[in-house]
């Protein structure tokens, strides 16, 4: 059948990109909305637990502040802030079961925090000490992938492995709006559909891929692609931690039960620069930023607590204390980090002996020895 009548696509673009078209539980004003589909998935989340999610978000935002400061002080080479995306990361990460595996991109520091990755391991890469800094098996979270989209295929392979093991864990893979243009991300959806892999495709549509607005990548909502591959999709307010948690739980549940992949588009916003090296004023307007600041994922929770009368001094103090202590630990961990050993440049290339590389190592050692005694 003819699926679309002949139309001028540029005319319709504007409506298509209307961002209101998503599910939500707590709006920007902190008002709680009912949504029968989502509600039952977070029925167990008490206000106390919501306060814990709030704490996570505040802490993660504080980590960003600290890291940005450390970068300015020259302690870090670079840092990719997730400012604005706290709800998307915390809501999804806190929905995970312990045995669910995470395949992240480079911006999922909030997710890593939820998995108790040591704080100094969050910065080791950005301090230039390592390319990756934790054992994925220990934290059920892979080390960050910098090549856009690559990790989505790893998620499918891992998920197929999970099924072959007879286990019922899920895999969640994080990627951005820009990443949806890469062949790999599309192939991952195809492979996941073919193998009914237990994968949650979690796209943080933060509206920008460095300087490129999402409309350059997608003429329609990103979430509209997956169904064509046979993958159900959910478009959720990514600044609403509760809705994100509900959506992620739905997707995880499908995966756990053998229902296959699900795609989640979390509509959020990168309020900071792409990385500390970026200057977003070159490509985006102050108005746009202001508009999204009004939808801040953290302040809306504060409003919600306020309205409910549970934004107590005690809660505020507790959260502040936690953020302060994490920040202090984070700073110290960064500054006290021990430089890698010179000769470790040759380590972990391969497991089996490589005589050509060993010769290079030995010759370099001889070369360095030459300088000994010199000054």
């Amino acid at each position: 059948m003819l699926r679309t009548t002949v139309s001028n696509s540029s005319d319709s673009e504007v409506d298509l990109l209307d961002d209101r078209d998503y599910v939500q539980l707590i709006d920007a004003e902190g008002r709680r909305h009912a949504n029968p589909t989502l509600d039952r998935w977070i029925a167990d989340v008490s206000d106390d637990q919501l306060a814990d999610l709030y704490e996570d978000m505040v802490v993660v935002r504080r980590i960003d502040v600290e890291a940005t400061a450390l970068q300015r002080q020259g302690e870090l080479g670079l840092w990719p802030p997730l400012l604005g995306q706290e709800a998307a990361q915390i809501g999804s990460a806190r929905a995970l079961r312990d045995d669910d595996f995470i395949m992240p991109s480079y911006r999922e520091n909030g997710v890593a925090y939820c998995r108790n990755v040591p704080l100094d391991d969050l910065v080791r890469v950005w301090r230039g000490h390592a390319h990756g800094s934790w054992d994925p098996t220990e934290y059920r979270m892979a080390i960050p992938a910098v090549i856009i989209g690559a990790q989505t295929l790893h998620a499918v392979g891992y998920g197929v492995g999970v099924r072959m093991d007879g286990a019922d864990s899920a895999v969640i893979t994080y990627f951005g709006d820009g990443a949806t243009s890469q062949g790999d991300t599309n192939e991952a959806m195809i492979f996941a559909a073919t193998y009914n892999a237990p994968v949650v495709f979690f796209c943080q549509n933060n509206h920008w891929a460095i300087s490129e607005p999402v409309r350059l990548q997608a003429a329609k909502h990103i979430s509209e692609r997956a169904p064509g591959y046979g993958i159900p999709s959910i478009r959720v307010d990514g600044n609403d931690v509760l809705a994100v948690m509900a959506a992620t739980r739905i997707a995880l549940d499908r995966a756990h039960r053998g229902g296959g992949p699900t795609f989640i588009e979390a509509v959020t916003y990168r309020m900071g620069p792409h990385t500390t090296s970026d200057d977003p004023t070159r490509y985006r307007s102050a108005e746009e930023l202001a508009e999204w600041k009004a939808k801040d994922p953290i302040t809306r929770l504060e409003k919600y607590f306020e309205d409910k009368g549970i934004f107590t001094d005690e809660l505020k103090a507790r959260v502040k204390a936690k953020a302060d202590s994490v920040a202090a630990e984070f700073r110290a961990g960064c500054k006290e980090m021990v430089e890698p050993e010179t000769m470790s440049v040759f380590d972990f290339v391969q497991i089996e002996a490589n005589p050509v590389l060993e010769r290079q190592r030995a010759q370099y050692a001889a070369y360095l020895a030459n300088f000994e005694g010199e000054d």
């Binding site: 062949g183 192939e187 492979f191 050509v356 590389l357």
Partner: protein, 350 residues
């Protein structure tokens, strides 16, 4: 995409010895690896019911099931990327790339993920992935079906790159590649798929995967080949012998890392080196061998190492491939050159 109808009829573990084609010795190696370790799974295009376009996986899906012999969607990056995820989960994926020229859509996953994840994770992640690639020309096929991309991978730290030249090596090397915790690019000389040889299924001792083999000792010239050209090189050894020239033939087997100890020991004996491969000359493995051996054994060299290789052109149409491919006569001409005997370049001036 020629096919062979021969089948091995072993379903139990193969024992003793048998005469097999090189293709079927790979089948046997795959089967044995799958029997020995149920984490070994195969994936690729058309490897299931069809048994691959070369029938190398023939019968394996019937024997091991669709979970262990997995037909994939038509996407090489997907095949490799999925292998990476499987490896992270503890599997030992053996990915088949249908033809050499189709590996490039998977290049990023190979170079940036398969090769680097162990280094990136400071040893926490292992990538025991074997990527099987039928490679090389001489089969009269169309474009993209006759390429020799091994040098790209040999220049990529973190990958082991090997090629086999005979049925026994195919069987042994494949098993070692699959058992290795490192990623291995396994290049299969497709035009030798139908050449036969004795295969001992349970050899007492095998030469380690990273070691070159001295195929035949000699004293005048060292000739280095790998994969499909080892057979051609053997012919050259015989022809030269008739002419009173003693060639030491080395089957490189491991293209990365290269077993320079074995090559250098030979060159220190002969003083002369000829290297042959099908890949284009510029940036090929031959240059690396010539440079490294010159570095290590300059004082032993009587002549500049000579390379007999494909030209710096794309692989040509089938009607012209005989000109592109190194053959007996071109190798002998280079042997004459390093020996200072009359040869096609005797009058050449640079």
């Amino acid at each position: 995409m020629t096919t062979t109808t021969e089948t091995t009829n072993a379903t139990a573990t193969a024992t003793g010895t048998a005469t097999l084609t090189l293709a079927k010795s790979i089948t046997a190696g795959l089967r044995r690896s799958m029997q020995d370790d149920d984490k070994v799974i195969l994936l690729g295009e058309d490897i299931g019911k069809l048994g691959g376009v070369f029938r190398v996986t023939d019968g394996l899906q019937a024997e091991f099931g669709t979970d262990r012999v997995v037909d994939t969607p038509l996407a090489e990056s997907g095949i490799i990327g999925m292998s990476v995820g499987l490896a992270m989960r503890g599997y030992r994926p053996v990915a088949e790339i249908q033809f050499d020229g189709f590996i490039y859509p998977g290049f990023d996953q190979i170079v940036s993920q398969v090769a680097k994840l162990h280094y990136r994770s400071r040893g926490a992640v292992r990538m025991p992935i074997t990527i099987r690639v039928p490679f090389g020309g001489g089969i009269g096929s169309v474009e993209h079906h006759s390429e020799s991309p091994e040098a790209y991978f040999a220049h990529t730290a973190g990958l082991r790159v090997v090629s086999c030249s005979n049925p026994q090596d195919a069987y042994d090397m494949l098993r070692e590649a699959i058992a290795s915790d490192d990623p291995v690019m396994f290049f299969e000389p497709k035009r030798r798929y139908w050449s036969k040889g004795e295969v001992n299924f349970e050899p007492e001792e095998t030469l380690p995967l990273s070691r070159a083999r001295v195929v035949s000792p000699g004293s005048d010239v060292t000739l280095v080949a790998y994969g499909p050209l080892v057979a051609t090189a053997k012919d050259a050894v015989a022809a030269a012998a008739d002419d009173g020239v003693s060639i030491e033939l080395i089957d490189l087997r491991s293209i990365a890392p290269i077993d320079f100890d074995t090559v250098a020991a030979s060159v220190r004996k002969t003083g002369r080196l000829v290297i042959t491969h099908e890949a284009a000359q510029s940036g090929g493995i031959g240059g690396e061998i010539a440079a490294s051996i010159t570095e290590r054994s300059f004082n032993w060299l009587e002549a500049a190492p000579a390379r007999v290789t494909g030209f710096d052109t794309p692989y040509p149409p089938a009607a012209l491939e005989e000109h592109f491919l190194p053959d007996l006569d071109r190798i002998l001409d280079a042997v004459d050159r390093v020996l200072g005997r009359p040869n096609s370049l005797s009058d050449w001036e640079d």
